[in-house]
C-alpha cells in the first residue's frame, strides 16, 4: 500500500511537470510570446545539451572544472562550459553548508545547554539575522578580499546564523523530563550534548539546514553576478548570457540552477528520512 501511495505521489508530480512543458510548447508554437522573452523548449533544450556536453578530445573532460583552479588562464571550448559553472556553484554551496553545519550545530547545542548565555546573546543574534546578508557583501570584499573566500564566507555567515538559531530552538524545545532523568543519572557536559540534546534538536537542525541551503544558493547565485568576483558560477553565466542576448542559454542556466536547488533539497530529504526514521510524528504508517 505504501509503495503504491509513494508511486502515485511521484507520478502526479511528474505529470504536473509534463503538463507545464506542454503549456510551454503550446505557448511558443502559437507565437503567443516573443521568443526573446520566452524561447521555445527545443531551443532551450539544445542550448542546454550543447552547454553540458564537453567534447572528449584534448584536455576537455568532466574534470575540466578542476583545471580552472589549477590554471585560471586556461580557456576551454564553449561546449560543456556550463558544467564547470555548475561544479563551482555546487562546490561553493556545499562548502558554505558544510562550514555552517560544522560551526552552527556544536555552537547551537552548547548555547542550548548554557541557556543563560543564550538569553544574553539572543538579541544580537536575531539582530544579525535581520540584516540582509547581501547588504554586507561589500564589507566582506574589504575584509576578505575579492574571490572565492568572500563568496563562501558571506554564504556561510548567512546560513550559520540560520542553523544556529534552529539548533538552539530545538534544544529549547527538548523534553525536560528526559533531560532531568539524564542529569539524575549523572550525565552532563559533552555526554549530555551528544547523547541527548543533539537527538532532541535533530529535527530542527535538519530543517534549519534545509532553509540554509535555499538561502545560501540564492545568495551565492546573486553574488556571482557581481562583476569581477569570479568568472565562474551559474549566476555569472546567467548574467553573461543575458548580456549577450543569448536567451536560450540564459534559460538553460536558470533551469540548471533550479535543478541544483531541487537536487540539494532531495538529498537533504533523503538524509532526513534516514536520520529521523525514529520520529513518531511523521506521516508514515507507524507500524513500519
Amino acid at each position: 500500500m505504501r509503495n503504491g501511495k509513494t508511486f502515485s505521489l511521484f507520478a502526479s508530480s511528474v505529470l504536473s511537470f509534463i503538463g507545464l512543458g506542454i503549456v510551454w510548447c503550446a505557448v511558443s508554437a502559437l507565437h503567443l510570446v516573443d521568443p526573446v522573452i520566452l524561447p521555445s523548449p527545443s531551443d532551450v533544450y539544445s542550448a542546454a545539451v550543447y552547454l553540458l556536453t564537453p567534447k572528449f578530445s584534448t584536455h576537455d573532460s568532466v574534470l575540466s572544472l578542476m583545471c580552472v583552479y589549477v590554471n585560471p588562464d586556461w580557456k576551454p571550448d564553449q561546449a560543456g562550459e556550463l558544467l564547470r559553472d555548475f561544479g563551482s556553484t555546487l562546490l561553493r554551496v556545499s562548502a558554505a553548508l558544510g562550514l555552517s553545519v560544522l560551526f552552527g550545530v556544536p555552537l547551537g547545542l552548547w548555547l542550548g545547554w548554557q541557556r543563560g548565555l543564550y538569553r544574553f546573546i539572543e538579541g544580537p543574534v536575531h539582530a544579525l539575522r535581520s540584516v540582509p546578508a547581501a547588504a554586507l557583501f561589500p564589507l566582506f570584499l574589504i575584509v576578505i578580499g575579492v574571490g572565492e573566500g568572500s563568496i563562501i564566507a558571506l554564504a556561510t555567515y548567512n546560513s550559520v546564523v540560520v542553523v544556529l538559531i534552529n539548533t538552539v530552538a530545538g534544544t529549547l524545545l527538548a523534553n525536560q523530563r528526559r533531560l532531568q532523568q539524564a542529569r539524575a543519572l549523572g550525565v552532563n557536559g559533552w555526554r549530555l550534548i551528544t547523547d541527548v540534546l543533539f537527538w532532541e534538536a535533530l529535527p530542527h537542525i535538519l530543517s534549519g539546514t534545509r532553509i540554509a541551503t535555499g538561502y545560501s544558493l540564492a545568495l551565492i547565485i546573486a553574488v556571482e553576478m557581481f562583476i569581477g568576483v569570479s568568472s565562474l558560477g551559474l549566476g555569472r553565466k546567467i548574467y553573461d548570457y543575458q548580456a549577450a542576448y543569448r536567451i536560450p542559454e540564459t534559460y538553460a542556466a536558470i533551469l540548471l540552477t533550479g535543478l541544483l536547488g531541487l537536487g540539494l533539497n532531495g538529498l537533504l530529504s533523503l538524509l532526513e528520512r534516514r536520520l529521523l526514521r525514529w520520529l513518531p510524528m511523521t506521516h508514515e504508517d507507524p507500524k513500519t
Binding site: 538569553r119 538579541g123 523530563r177 542529569r183 539524575a184 543519572l185 526514521r277 520520529l279 513518531p280
Partner: protein, 291 residues
C-alpha cells in the same frame, strides 16, 4: 530489612505554589532587559526578582502545611486521593523537582543520590528516548552508570524477558503499542536498579490486562532487587495487587486521611476471603468520597 530507618521521612512539610513563584511568568525579553540593567547597576537581586518575586505574588493557601509521612524501605506504598489532592506534587517534591527551603523531606543516606529515586509519569515518552531502539533504551542508563559489558547484557535480557519485550527489542518506540511503550518506560527506569521507583499514574491509561502484566513484572523486580515503590493511582485493583500499604491523602492543606496496611501474601488471589477483608476498609473510604 536490617536497617529499620524509613527510606524517606517527611516532617512538617510546607509547600504552596505561590511561594515557589510558579505563578510569575515574565517574558524572556523583559528578563533579558532586567539582567542587563542589573549588570550595569551591579545589582543581583533585580535578576532574581524576575524569577521568585515572592513579595508581589498573591499567596495562595498552602497545599501542604505541617504534613508528616514515613515510607519504609523495601515496601510498596500506594498513594490514593482525589484530583488535586497533591499526590503528584508530593511525588515531584520527593524527586526534588520543586526547590524546598526547609529540610522537610529527608531521604535515608543510601537513597540520597539523584539516580536512586526515579520518577515516571503517565507519558511514557517522558522517560524513553524515541531515537533509540527498545534494547538501546534499556541499555543507555547502564552505560551511563559504567556497568561492565556482560552485566549490562544480562540485565537487558532479563528486563526484556520480564516485561515481555523480547520480540520488540530492535523496534523504535514509535512502533510500539501504548502498553508496550509503558512497559518499556518502566523497564528503562528500573534498569540500573534504583532504590526507589515513583509511579505517577503510569498505568492509568492502560487496559486491565496490560496493567496486570506490568504489575506482575514490577512485583517480580521488586522482590528480586528489594526496591521501594511509591504507587500513585486511582485504581483500587492496582493497589490491592501490588501495595503493602495504602495511604489516602486529601483536604486542604493536605493530610493523611487513612493509612491501611495490606498484609497479604503474593501472588494475590482476588477471590480469597483475606483479599475481600483487606479490600473492605478501602471501599468504605471510597464510598465516603475521600479517594
Amino acid at each position: 530489612m536490617s536497617d529499620l530507618t524509613p527510606a524517606v521521612t517527611i516532617r512538617g512539610l510546607r509547600f504552596s505554589y505561590g511561594s515557589q513563584g510558579e505563578a510569575v511568568r515574565t517574558s524572556s525579553l523583559i528578563k533579558w532587559y532586567a539582567s542587563i540593567v542589573a549588570c550595569f547597576r551591579g545589582l543581583r537581586h533585580v535578576a532574581v526578582a524576575g524569577k521568585h518575586s515572592s513579595a508581589e505574588v498573591p499567596r495562595s493557601e498552602p497545599l501542604y502545611d505541617g504534613f508528616d509521612l514515613d515510607i519504609a524501605a523495601g515496601t510498596v506504598v500506594a498513594l490514593m486521593g482525589g484530583s488535586g489532592s497533591g499526590k503528584s506534587t508530593l511525588a515531584k517534591l520527593l524527586v526534588k523537582d520543586y526547590p524546598l527551603v526547609t529540610g522537610a523531606i529527608a531521604w535515608r543516606k543510601d537513597f540520597s543520590a539523584p539516580h536512586e529515586v526515579i520518577y515516571t509519569d503517565q507519558h511514557a515518552l517522558n522517560s524513553v528516548f524515541p531515537w533509540q531502539t527498545v534494547r538501546a533504551n534499556i541499555e543507555w542508563p547502564l552505560r551511563t552508570q559504567r556497568w561492565p559489558y556482560y552485566k549490562r547484557l544480562r540485565q537487558v535480557v532479563r528486563l526484556l524477558k520480564i516485561f515481555g519485550l523480547k520480540h520488540r527489542a530492535k523496534a523504535f518506540p514509535k512502533a510500539l503499542s501504548g502498553g508496550e511503550l509503558q512497559r518499556l518506560a518502566i523497564a528503562r527506569c528500573i534498569s540500573w536498579c534504583p532504590r526507589c521507583l515513583i509511579l505517577d499514574e503510569s498505568l492509568s491509561a492502560l487496559d486491565r490486562n496490560t496493567r496486570a502484566g506490568i504489575i506482575t513484572a514490577l512485583r517480580k523486580i521488586r522482590d528480586e532487587d528489594n526496591m521501594t515503590v511509591i504507587l500513585i493511582t486511582h485504581y483500587l485493583t492496582d493497589v490491592l495487587a501490588l501495595a503493602d500499604r495504602c495511604v489516602a491523602l486529601g483536604g486542604l492543606p493536605v493530610r493523611v486521611l487513612g493509612d491501611f496496611p495490606i498484609s497479604l501474601p503474593h501472588p494475590r488471589d482476588e477471590t480469597s476471603a483475606e483479599y475481600q477483608a483487606a479490600q473492605e476498609p478501602l471501599i468504605e473510604k471510597l464510598r465516603h468520597g475521600h479517594l
